[in-house]
């Protein structure tokens, strides 16, 4: 029952993990693998959450716990407030009917054609034949595989397989979509199309999405919130803009730097110094607070010439966002003064040679 206060105040999170652990038993002669070590995570209905982390951090295992493909070692997993650890297979089915999953390794049915793969969840959900056909045909066109409808899985390229996996997961318009590396094998064009489709189903149908990715670009353009995992734990999480603009953990900074060219690494810096004389500073622009022309005017007014040697401006969820590394050239005293003046306008870091 929702009260007048509005759903947000009382609604339970769609997905709620409390102190979840998952240990894979030791293989013979090995040690057990603690893949998940005490994770708390809530995903609200309608949210898009991005999960990032190094390979082996436990991301795939985490989402597999959400639809009970894997059982927890300890802790609680609730979907729509319902504890799924206690559920019998029959009730789990009900829960899973509302969850779509795109698998990292695709897991397509080799015994079925492309069409048959996409039809599968529709058959399970008992969708009428005519509607199935309509839906499959739409999805095939969307993922660009209309001409491969009757091909078998082993006749597809890597990206084509992934697209079948995507279409299959979207077929029943589940209310929760778990996407594990769903665009890793796709070219940029198709990636963009898939991402905008995901955005659209989220916006228009309110579908909640949990997306695992290695590409921060995907997080930036798709997610509302980002969760950073390391060695089985969530080490950082928050709204995308916040995490991107102010990453706390080294792992987060490492990921953020892949899209927001934070600052050149030592090697790149050395190369830049070799080509550009002068003093390097990194200026951090956030939102619309500071006009860049003011900064540049400041520099020019002091007769300090500059080159933008690294960095750029990004959009993150509609906000301007950028780190510009400038090479300042001019009278050393003037440069020092200019840096001081600029530092009053925007956060400024001097990059030592």
């Amino acid at each position: 029952m929702t009260t007048a206060a509005g759903p947000a105040a009382t609604s339970v999170p769609l997905v709620e993990l409390r102190d979840v652990h998952k240990t894979f038993p030791a293989a013979r002669g090995g040690t057990p693998v603690e893949a998940i070590r005490g994770v708390d995570l809530s995903v609200e209905a309608g949210e898009i959450v991005g999960i990032v982390g190094y390979s082996g951090a436990g991301k795939s295992t985490l989402v597999r716990l959400i639809n009970a493909l894997e059982s927890t070692t300890s802790g609680s997993v609730r979907i729509g407030g319902r504890e799924i650890a206690d559920l019998k297979e029959r009730d789990l089915r009900e829960v899973r009917l509302g969850i779509g999953m795109i698998f990292q390794q695709f897991n397509l049915f080799r015994s079925r054609t492309v069409w048959g793969n996409i039809a599968y969840p529709l058959e399970v959900a008992g969708v009428a034949r005519a509607e199935q056909n309509q839906r499959i045909s739409d999805l095939l066109h969307f993922v660009g595989l209309a001409d491969k409808a009757h091909s078998h899985v082993d006749e597809l390229s890597g990206g084509q397989k992934q697209r079948v996996g995507i279409a299959r997961a979207l077929a029943t318009e589940p209310s929760l979509l778990l996407a594990d590396e769903s665009t890793s094998a796709l070219d940029p064009e198709t990636t963009q199309e898939v991402l905008s489709l995901l955005r659209r189903v989220n916006r228009e149908l309110g579908i909640t999405i949990v997306v695992i990715t290695h590409e921060m670009d995907v997080v930036r353009s798709l997610a509302h919130r980002v969760v950073v995992m390391e060695a089985g734990r969530i080490v950082e999480q928050g709204p995308v803009v916040q995490v991107l603009s102010d990453p706390q953990q080294p792992v987060t900074r490492r990921f953020v730097s892949t899209i927001v060219d934070d600052e050149p690494d030592a090697e790149a810096l050395a190369a830049l110094h070799a080509r550009h004389p002068g003093h390097f500073v990194k200026l951090a622009f956030r939102g619309d607070e500071v006009r860049q022309s003011d900064v540049f005017a400041e520099l020019l007014s002091r007769d300090v010439r500059f080159e933008l040697v690294y960095g750029g401006i990004e959009e993150v969820q509609g906000e301007t966002f950028g780190n510009l590394t400038l090479a300042l050239d001019g009278d050393p005293a003037a440069v020092t003064a200019a840096v001081a003046a600029v530092a009053d306008l925007v956060p400024t870091t001097e990059l030592s040679r």
Partner: protein, 222 residues
């Protein structure tokens, strides 16, 4: 070897035997195939990590299957005669041999089925579970289709084994080409009759096996 032969007068019996073999094997393969499929599925789904994983059930099924398979077939036939009398109304002749062969085949088939099913990629079963398919539905729509290639080869194997086994029909007065070969050829030391019957059996088997091979290749596209 003596090449006097009675084959000339025996042709009607040859065709009669061929018909009986086909008939015995067809019924046996169908009924035993279904029973064996169910039993094999049960062995498979109750394995550790299976859809209905249950150590106890799996152990019981294993013990039962292991109990019946190694019994010498003649003894098995005799042992199930009382049951045959209840179920098919007689303990001798083709109905009884079909009954016994069906039971024996079911146990053998169950192993072949199990062996084919274990090769199914667990990933696709997970994919089916993830869309909320019931376990029975998964067995029907994923496990069996994904294993269809090896299953077809397995059933072809059993078909040939049954043709071979059906020759024993004679011990309880059943017919068939195998028994004909034994009775009118081999025991009469009539090599022409023996090998005529054998060649017909072999030709029959060739056709079915090659069809099975082609079907399996089509299904697996390898």
């Amino acid at each position: 070897m003596n090449l006097d032969t009675n084959i000339g007068e025996l042709w009607p019996l040859v065709w009669q035997g061929a018909y009986e073999t086909l008939y015995i094997v067809a019924i046996t393969l169908t009924l035993g195939g279904i029973l064996g499929l169910l039993l094999g599925l049960a062995l498979y789904v109750t394995r550790r990590g299976g859809l209905y994983a249950s150590r106890a059930t799996n152990l019981v099924l294993n013990v039962v299957v292991n109990f019946f398979r190694p019994i010498p077939f003649v003894i098995f036939i005799a042992a199930v005669q009382p049951l045959a009398r209840v179920v098919v109304g007689t303990g001798i002749g083709n109905p009884a041999i079909i009954f016994a062969l069906t039971l024996a085949a079911a146990f053998g088939i169950s192993r072949i089925v199990e062996q084919s099913l274990v090769t199914v990629d667990p990933g696709v079963i997970e994919a089916a579970r993830s869309v909320g398919a019931s376990r029975l539905h998964i067995i029907r729509t994923v496990v069996l289709p994904e294993a269809l290639g090896p299953l077809v080869l397995g059933y072809t194997f059993i078909f040939v084994a049954l043709v071979d086994m059906s020759a024993i029909a004679g011990v309880i007065g059943g017919g068939g080409l195998g028994n004909f070969a034994l009775q009118y050829g081999y025991r009469q030391f009539d090599a022409v009759v023996t090998w005529t019957a054998v060649v017909i059996i072999v030709a029959l088997v060739q056709v079915v096996q090659l069809a099975g091979n082609v079907a399996a290749r089509r299904i697996m596209r390898r």
